[in-house]
C-alpha cells in the first residue's frame, strides 16, 4: 500500500518536469527547472517521511489500544475514568526503553584504632580473602555498580561491578555476574555464573545491607569475609505451606576458603536447607543449615608478606537463625531483628609455613555471633553484636606460629547506631571492643551508604 503510493508520487513528479523540459530553450531555464525539481523532491521526501512517521505512530497506538480490553474501554468511558495512554505512562519508545535497571551504591568510612590495623592478626585463625580490619582513617569503601534486567521471558541477569581502589589505582572488578532461570517447572531455579555462595544467612547479603560495618568474626575467619566463587547452583522450593527450600551448588574453588581451583576446577560444593514462617502478624522467623566442602590447593592466608599456604580440605557446617518482629507486621514505624549463626569448621591437610616447614594440620574450630538491631522509631536503629571464635590446639609443633591459638577465645563486642533519611541513605556509627587480635583494641567507625538509581528489593 505504502509502496504504491510512493511510486505514484514519483511518477507525477517525474512526468511534469519532462514535458516542460522539451519546451525549454535556454540553459538558465533548465537550471531553474532543476532547482524547482530538487525543491519539490525535498519537499515531497519530507512529506513522505512525515506521513511514514504518522503511520508508525498510528500502528503503535493501535497495538497499545488492542492491549486494553475493549469492554473495559467502553466501561471507562461510561464511568468517566479514562486510563492515560499506556505508552505515555510507560517507558519511552526510544531504544533506551530496554536499558537494564542501573544503580550505584556509594560507601565511605573513617575508622580509628588504638593498634596498627596493618599488624592485625587473630592467633590460630590466619585470615584469608577479604577478611581483616577496614582501612584506618578516611577511606572510600566499595563503590558498587548494579545492573540487572530480564534477558528474555526465560532468563534474568544480574551484574555487580565494584570499582575498587587497590594500591591507589581504581579498577573495575566483577563481584557478581550471574544468569538465573525464570521458567523451570516444579519450583526449581538454576543460577550460573559468579555469585556469593548460598550458605548461611549473611554470605549472600551485599555489604550495603549489613547491619554492622563489617562481617562478624566467624565469617572473617572461615569465609574470608564472604565466600564468592564461579559456579552453578540449583534450588528447589517445596510446594508446602511451610517455607522449605533446598539448594546445592558446585563452584570453581578459586577463593578462600577454597583455593587453587582444585579438582580440575570443581573445587567446592555447598548444600543448604532453609525453613521459616510467621507467628501471628508480628513475628517471622527463618532457620537453616548449610554445608560447604572446599578443596584448598596452596591457599594463602595470614600476613601478605609471609603467607601461610594450606593444602587440604576445608569442611564448614553453618546453622542460622533469624527472628524479626514488628508490631502488626508494620515494619515502617518500629521493628526488631535478631540474628544468630553458629559455624563449625574442620580443616585437614598440610600447612606450608614461611620458614619452609610443611606440617600436617587437622583442627576443629568454631565461631558464632549474636546480633540484635532495633528500630525504636522511624529512621533510627540501634544494634548490638557479640562475635566469638574458638579453636582446638593444632599440636605443639605449631607453637610460635600464627596457627597456634591463644588461651582466651578471640571475641569482639560491637555497638552501632544508624540513621536513614530514606531507604536510599544511611549514616552509621560503630564502636567495637576487639579482644580477637594480639592486643585488645578500641575501634571507632563512621560509615555512609548511599544508593542512586534502581535499587533491588531486599531479601528477608
Amino acid at each position: 500500500m505504502r509502496i504504491i503510493s510512493i511510486g505514484m508520487l514519483w511518477a507525477c513528479l517525474i512526468s511534469n518536469p519532462i514535458t516542460s523540459l522539451a519546451q525549454a530553450d535556454s540553459s538558465a531555464e533548465i537550471e531553474q527547472i532543476r532547482a524547482e525539481l530538487a525543491a519539490m523532491r525535498t519537499d515531497y521526501e519530507a512529506r513522505i517521511e512525515a506521513l511514514e512517521k504518522r503511520l508508525n505512530t498510528a500502528e503503535q497506538e493501535a497495538v497499545v489500544a488492542k492491549q486494553t480490553v475493549e469492554s473495559v474501554a467502553s466501561r471507562q468511558a461510561e464511568l468517566a475514568v479514562q486510563p492515560a495512554p499506556a505508552a505515555a505512562q510507560g517507558a519511552g519508545r526510544s531504544s533506551n526503553a530496554f536499558n537494564p535497571a542501573l544503580g550505584v551504591i556509594f560507601q565511605g568510612q573513617v575508622w580509628a584504632y588504638d593498634n596498627d590495623p596493618d599488624d592485625y592478626m587473630i592467633p590460630g585463625f590466619p585470615l584469608g580473602g577479604e577478611a581483616g580490619p577496614l582501612p584506618e582513617g578516611l577511606a572510600l569503601g566499595e563503590t558498587e555498580i548494579n545492573i540487572s534486567a530480564n534477558v528474555d521471558d526465560k532468563f534474568t541477569a544480574w551484574l555487580t561491578a565494584p570499582i575498587a581502589i587497590e594500591d591507589g589505582e581504581a579498577g573495575i572488578e566483577i563481584e557478581e555476574a550471574w544468569i538465573e532461570t525464570m521458567m523451570l517447572p516444579a519450583g526449581l531455579t538454576l543460577r550460573m555464573g559468579r555469585h556469593f555462595a548460598n550458605i548461611g544467612y549473611l554470605n549472600e547479603k551485599h555489604a550495603h545491607t549489613w547491619d554492622f560495618a563489617d562481617q562478624p568474626l566467624p565469617y572473617q575467619a572461615f569465609l574470608g569475609g564472604q565466600y564468592l566463587d564461579d559456579g552453578v547452583g540449583l534450588r528447589w522450593l517445596a510446594p508446602t505451606d511451610l517455607y522449605l527450600e533446598f539448594s546445592g551448588e558446585i563452584n570453581r574453588g578459586a577463593n578462600y576458603p577454597a583455593g587453587g581451583a582444585g579438582r580440575s576446577g570443581f573445587g567446592s560444593y555447598a548444600l543448604h536447607a532453609r525453613t521459616g514462617g510467621d507467628i501471628g502478624f508480628s513475628h517471622s522467623w527463618m532457620a537453616g543449615l548449610s554445608y560447604l566442602q572446599a578443596d584448598a590447593d596452596e591457599r594463602a592466608s595470614g600476613s601478605e608478606d609471609d603467607p601461610l599456604y594450606f593444602t587440604g580440605e576445608s569442611d564448614l557446617m553453618m546453622a542460622e537463625f533469624v527472628w524479626k518482629w514488628a508490631p502488626n507486621g508494620n515494619n515502617r514505624q518500629r521493628n526488631f531483628k535478631f540474628v544468630a549463626e553458629y559455624l563449625w569448621r574442620n580443616e585437614d591437610g598440610f600447612y606450608n609455613l614461611p620458614d619452609g616447614r610443611i606440617l600436617p594440620y587437622n583442627t576443629d574450630q568454631q565461631g558464632w555471633y549474636l546480633q540484635a538491631v532495633v528500630q525504636p522509631f522511624p529512621r533510627w536503629r540501634l544494634g548490638l553484636r557479640w562475635d566469638q571464635l574458638s579453636s582446638n590446639e593444632p599440636g605443639e609443633v605449631f607453637n610460635g606460629t600464627p596457627l597456634m591459638p591463644l588461651a582466651d577465645d578471640p571475641r569482639r563486642y560491637s555497638i552501632m547506631a544508624d540513621w536513614s533519611n530514606s531507604e536510599f541513605s544511611r549514616l552509621r556509627l560503630q564502636y567495637t571492643y576487639d579482644q580477637a587480635g594480639l592486643e585488645d583494641d578500641k575501634q571507632f567507625g563512621l560509615q555512609y551508604i548511599f544508593s542512586i538509581g534502581a535499587h533491588g528489593a531486599h531479601a528477608f
Binding site: 473495559v72 475514568v81 486510563p83 521458567m183 523451570l184 522450593l237 508446602t240 507486621g329 522511624p378 528489593a457
Partner: protein, 303 residues
C-alpha cells in the same frame, strides 16, 4: 430403611464436601482489597490470601519466607503495581520459583494498569522523595476504579480457570450491579464533601479526593516517604492555623502523633480512615469499607 439411606447419602455428601469445596484458583493478593475483590467475583471457587493487612504500610514489607511459599503455590498474583510493592514483590517473585505468576504472564495481574493513574510526574528525582514514576499507586480509594479493575480481573480469572469461567462472569455481573448501586448511594451521601480541603499524612488519598471532589491542600510528610518533621509541622501550623483546611487524615499504619499535634493547635478535626478492607472494625468488606470512610468523614465534619 429409607431413613438410613438418607443418612448415608447425607454423610457421604458431608464427607465429600471439603473435597468439592476445594478452591480452584489460588490467589495471592498484595493488598487486602484485591483479595476481597477476587472473592467477590469468584466466591467459593477462589482461595485468596493477602500478603499485607490493613495495619501495614504496603511500601515497607519484608520478603518473608511465608510469603515466598504462598507465591510458589499461587495461580494468580494481584497487586496494585505502579511500583507500590517494588521493595519486596520482585524478591518474592524471584524466590517463589513460579513461572506462571512472573510479570508478563496471565498469572500476574497489575490492577493499576486498568485505571487512570493520577500524579504521574513529568520528571522524577529522588530529591522529591519516594516518588512513583508511574503515578500514585493508591488507586483503591475510588470505587469507580474498583469496578474497572473488577471487570479486567474477572476476565483474567476466567482465562486462568476456564472451567469456572461462568462463575467469574456471573460473579462479576452480580458485583457490577450491586457495586454501581452502592456507588450511586455513596455519591449521593458524599455530595456535601465536595470542595472540602484536606491535609493528609501521605499522598494515600488522591483517588478518594478526585472521586469526591475534595481538595488536597497539604501533606504531613515534608516530601513523599519522609516522616513528618518538626520544622514542616510548624510551617503547616503557620499556613493552616487560621481556617486553612477542613480535615486531617491519616491511615491506620501511620503514626497519629503528627495529625494530633496539628489538630490540637489548629482545631482542624483529625481522623483515621481505613485505607483498605480491615482497616477499621466496620470495614470488613469492600462495601462496609467505603461506608465507613464516608461515616468517618461526614462524622468528623459534622455534615
Amino acid at each position: 430403611m429409607k431413613n438410613i439411606m438418607k443418612k448415608v447419602v447425607v454423610t457421604i455428601l458431608f464427607l465429600l464436601s471439603p473435597i468439592m469445596a476445594t478452591a480452584d484458583l489460588k490467589v495471592f493478593a498484595c493488598e487486602p482489597e484485591w483479595a476481597a475483590l477476587a472473592e467477590e467475583i469468584g466466591g467459593k471457587s477462589v482461595k485468596a490470601n493477602s500478603a499485607t493487612n490493613a495495619l501495614q504500610d504496603p511500601h515497607y514489607i519484608q520478603a518473608r519466607p511465608s510469603l515466598i511459599s504462598k507465591v510458589r503455590r499461587a495461580d494468580l498474583v494481584i497487586c496494585s503495581g505502579a511500583q507500590l510493592e517494588i521493595g519486596w514483590l520482585p524478591m518474592l517473585l524471584n524466590k517463589g520459583s513460579n513461572p506462571g505468576v512472573m510479570p508478563g504472564n496471565p498469572g500476574n495481574f497489575v490492577a493499576s494498569d486498568y485505571v487512570k493513574r493520577l500524579d504521574v510526574p513529568s520528571t522524577v528525582d529522588r530529591s522529591q522523595g519516594d516518588v512513583h514514576p508511574l503515578g500514585n499507586p493508591h488507586i483503591q480509594t475510588n470505587p469507580r476504579n474498583i469496578l474497572l479493575i473488577a471487570e479486567a480481573l474477572a476476565t483474567r480469572m476466567a482465562e486462568l480457570d476456564a472451567k469456572n469461567a461462568d462463575i467469574y462472569h456471573d460473579g462479576f455481573e452480580d458485583f457490577d450491579q450491586r457495586w454501581r448501586a452502592a456507588i450511586s448511594a455513596w455519591e449521593e451521601r458524599a455530595s456535601s464533601l465536595r470542595g472540602k480541603r484536606v491535609i493528609t499524612h501521605h499522598k494515600s488519598w488522591v483517588y478518594l479526593e478526585d472521586w469526591l471532589g475534595m481538595e488536597e491542600v497539604a501533606n504531613l510528610e515534608p516530601i513523599s516517604g519522609i516522616p513528618p518533621t518538626a520544622g514542616h509541622l510548624s510551617s503547616l501550623l503557620k499556613r493552616f492555623g487560621d481556617d486553612g483546611a477542613d480535615i486531617i487524615i491519616h491511615a491506620p499504619f501511620q503514626s497519629e502523633k503528627a495529625s494530633k499535634w496539628l489538630s490540637d493547635r489548629t482545631g482542624i478535626p483529625e481522623i483515621m480512615l481505613p485505607l483498605t478492607v480491615g482497616g477499621s472494625d466496620k470495614a470488613s468488606t469492600l462495601y462496609s469499607w467505603f461506608d465507613d470512610i464516608l461515616d468517618r468523614l461526614l462524622g468528623a465534619l459534622q455534615l
